[in-house]
């Protein structure tokens, strides 16, 4: 399944765990909020799931990628 990460912005408090766990796909902007990159490739799927699980605000979700 092709997947991507979506942030629930009203819940996000810029704690930054998603970036710590998945720096390949998640950068932090100048205010500490996640900048989510592209599609979650199969090799990154496990880390993406960990990032979703570890978010203290449960503000990260793995969703099906939008068909291009």
């Amino acid at each position: 399944m092709t997947a991507r990460l979506r942030v629930d912005w009203p819940s996000c408090r810029a704690r930054g765990l998603c970036h710590e766990l998945l720096p390949e796909l998640v950068d932090l902007d100048e205010w500490g909020y996640p900048v989510v990159g592209g599609e979650v490739t199969p090799d990154l799927l496990a880390d993406a799931r960990a990032a979703v699980r570890m978010c203290p605000r449960l503000a990260l979700r793995l969703v099906a990628a939008r068909p291009v």
């Binding site: 819940s11 930054g16 765990l17």
Partner: protein, 185 residues
């Protein structure tokens, strides 16, 4: 039922160990959350530590409760270890507080295990009960703790240090909140 002081010493020993462990767990919970990602220990490390310490504490709490029930020196039935103030003859008030602490810790732990299913708001509302659980454990120690009542220096110091640690963590966290957003790490 086993005779001899082994279970009694195990019970008292685990009691102090878990008081310390829960105190550190609580302090970590207060300090390692909130605020932005920044310098120092990565957030996922401190949060994993908080979680793992909590799980170890709960496991040891199980041993503490089991030894109390199993020991024939004090008359504590198994249901009195689960339901607060359910009619035990040994130090009912302080024992009840200990049982209350156990119940609160269990609720907090179980809801945390199914956190992703609960949604953040409900999970957090329950998680705040950890403060109450820790306070109940402290009161239980002060009231029922044989060594505290005997005024053993190490016992008093341990309890005092635990109280100080959580108080300091709370003060630090409140202080962080009072700072303007830009200067927070």
């Amino acid at each position: 039922m086993i005779d001899g002081p082994l279970l009694w010493y195990l019970n008292r020993g685990t009691g102090f160990v878990i008081l310390g462990l829960f105190t550190v767990t609580t302090a970590l919970g207060i300090l390692a959350t909130g605020g932005r990602a920044g310098r120092g220990v990565p957030r996922f490390v401190s949060q994993s530590l908080h979680r793992n310490l909590a799980l170890v504490s709960v496991a040891l709490l199980g041993a503490h409760v089991a030894t109390a029930v199993a020991d024939s020196y004090v008359d504590i039935r198994w249901w009195q270890a689960l339901v607060p103030w359910a009619g035990s003859t040994y130090q009912p008030l302080w024992l009840g507080l200990g049982t209350l602490a156990l119940d609160l810790v269990l609720v907090v732990a179980l809801t945390s295990l199914v956190r992703t299913r609960l949604g953040h708001r409900s999970w957090r509302a329950v998680h705040l009960l950890a403060y109450a659980g820790w306070a109940a454990a402290m009161a239980h120690t002060l009231g029922i703790g044989t060594d505290v009542r005997a005024d053993a220096a190490w016992a008093d110091l341990t309890v005092a240090a635990c109280a100080a640690l959580v108080a300091a963590a709370v003060v630090l966290r409140l202080g962080r909140l009072a700072l303007p957003a830009g200067s927070r790490a």
